[in-house]
Amino acid sequence: MKILVLVKEVPDAAVEKTIGADGRIDRSGEKTLNPSDTNALEAAVQLKEAGADVSEIVAVTVGPDSASRSLQGAVSRGADRSIHLSDAGLAGSDVVATGYALAELVKRENPELVLLGQQSDDAGCYAVGSVVGQFLGQPALSQVSKLELSGTTLTLERQAEYGYDTLEVTLPAVISVSDSANEPRYPSLKAIMGAKKKPVEKLDLAGAGIDAGKVGTAGSGVECKDFQAPAAKAAGTIITDEDTAATVEQIVAWLDSRKLV
């Protein structure tokens, strides 16, 4: 079976994120492979290692030309080849438009399983997997922390508010992998060097047969107007510990006032 892993290049976590005048995230500066996507790649590799009949793992990204570096990073983490959709017409795509473009790429490959990280480090919408599943007409499950494959049946655990749900799904399906699913291993130096030699298919909208009217700013229903930083948290109360008994009393009184003890 074929597994597609959807990946994204995001600004490095250490870079302070700013919104430009155009209402889009400023993507200049250091960029990296979305950390959550490394969990999806690791999950794909682990399924293969666990004995699933995986013929190939393909990494897929939608993003500017610079994203090729992160795509190569995905290949060094276990993909056999990659597909890169890059087109000026994609700029400004919202979650639905991006999901549509990704779904069109998935259709070309017709894999049994699509994996992706459950959220991106930049926009953090947690929604792309569901959108892709919708366009494909396939089950989409998010927050998946454990995957086991038997034939075409995928048994998985999904984080819930209290504990987790155990579910079964028949492939094909789209699975958003949570960061608690596994601990992604480091690619070896050899894999990094080998990644350059693996095939990469570069596509633009026309080449991929994607309707340009359904992507980019024009194809997006979301209109970004104004962004506000979340309200700052109120400063805490600082108790100076001079007399421990008195300090404990103060803490207990504070907890008591909030009905926490």
Binding site: R69, G73, S76, Y186, S188, L189, I192, M193, K196
Partner: protein, 402 residues
């Protein structure tokens, strides 16, 4: 004579590798270095991680199962690892020098025999020149190898073997012709096999003993040992380059290897100097005195500027020395300068960082305390700063003789 040993590594690959090693350092080395340092414990988990990454085969050619990275890339890997803890590239350095000796001077048979297993880290290498009475004065060594029948018998005491216990191979310089003058013309490099992790070797390795590791101020975790050779027997096939070529040719082989070894130590100085700057930049913005962060005091700013300039100067010299070697040119002069400047930068920056930390810098709670104890190793190992000075001026006076 200098020869480039590998194809140049392309910039993009180099960047990706360095980025990965930086991530490994941030996640695996920095959070654990204090633990291993305080217990003076061999960092086995970290070493296993390095093996998985493939660091032990970094410079070994692909045909022998390595990655064939150039020295410039290797140097940057060492900088990143040293930023975490200088003991980590210490584990790799002697191995790297051993691999270099084999690649450069070994017979095809010797390369086939050792390099593939070295590339995976299955066996690791140490090297040995110093003796209790002789360090930089290499020509004063006394350990001998005498031909007895078809074999050579080795007797003597060697000193300061980094990785002396854990290694399976020791590239050892000994005297094979006591009459030779100058003395270096009677020295030979043997590839000594031993049992990794065993103090008293027996069987075919009988006569080789590694006494308990030497207790040190810093540079902990990685062991520094003596090596006692008492009737250790080995064949002429274990002479680096083969008996015909290698006999009495060991001194020049070792000096060539030390050139790249010096780049490694320089790279560790750069990594250490960088870490000291990072800690100083952070602490000086957190700590307040006289109503403001100490970073807003001009005298602190002066220290930070000095640290940054020393770091970048050391970095450029180090990269230049590696670059020359990669181009197949001699880097003897530049490697000596890089080693001197970078190790001094590491030392000066850790001291400045310690001063900025005030009393806390003297506490084992803070990382800079370890850095300060680690730094002097670099001033000494692979030729002290004063030896480098002599080396540099000697070369210059020879080149510009009037």
């Amino acid at each position: 004579m200098a020869v480039a040993l590998s194809e140049r590594t392309d910039k993009e690959t180099q960047e990706q590798i360095v980025e990965l090693v930086r991530q490994f350092t941030d996640e695996q080395i920095l959070p654990n270095a204090e633990k291993y340092d305080h217990a003076d414990e061999y960092p086995q988990d970290i070493v296993d991680g390095l093996k998985e990454l493939g660091i032990f085969g970094a410079t070994i050619p692909e045909e022998y199962g390595g990655l064939g990275l150039d020295l410039s890339t290797y140097t940057r890997i060492v900088v990143e690892l040293a930023r975490g803890w200088i003991s980590i590239p210490g584990v790799v350095n002697t191995h790297f020098i051993g691999a270099y000796l084999l690649m450069r001077f070994g017979t095809e048979e010797q390369k086939q025999k050792y390099l593939p297993r070295m590339a995976t880290g299955e066996i690791t290498a140490a090297f040995s020149l110093s003796e209790p009475h002789a360090g930089s004065d290499v020509q004063a060594i006394k350990t001998t190898a005498k031909k007895v029948g078809d074999d050579y018998e080795l007797n003597g005491a060697k000193m300061w073997l980094t990785n002396g216990l854990t290694s399976g191979l020791v590239f050892t310089l000994v005297v094979t012709d006591t009459e030779a003058r100058p003395r270096y013309k009677g020295m030979t490099c043997f590839i000594l096999e031993k049992e990794p992790g065993v103090s008293e070797n027996t069987g075919q390795y009988a006569g080789l003993t590694i006494p308990p590791k030497i207790k040190k101020m810093g540079y902990k975790g990685v062991e520094s040992t003596e090596m006692v050779l008492d009737g250790y027997k080995t064949s002429g096939e274990q002479i680096l380059g083969g008996e015909e070529v290698g006999l009495n040719g060991g001194f020049k082989q070792m000096m060539d290897a030390l050139e790249v070894g010096r780049v490694n130590v320089a790279a560790r100085g750069v990594g250490l100097a960088q870490r000291a700057l990072e800690l100083a930049l952070r602490y000086s913005q957190e700590r307040e005195t006289f109503g403001k962060p100490i970073a807003e005091h001009q005298m602190v700013q002066g220290h930070i500027a000095d640290m940054a300039a020393r770091l970048e100067g050391a970095r450029l010299l180090t990269y230049q020395a590696a670059e020359l070697k990669d181009e197949g040119k001699s880097s003897n002069l530049e490697a000596a300068m890089a080693k001197m400047v970078a190790s001094e930068a590491g030392h000066a920056n850790t001291e400045a960082c310690l001063r900025l930390h005030g009393g806390y810098g003297y506490s084992k709670e803070y990382e800079v305390e370890r850095l300060y104890r680690d730094a002097p190793l670099l001033l000494i190992g692979e030729g002290t700063s004063d030896i480098q000075r002599l080396n540099i001026s000697k070369q210059l006076l020879k080149k510009y003789k009037i």
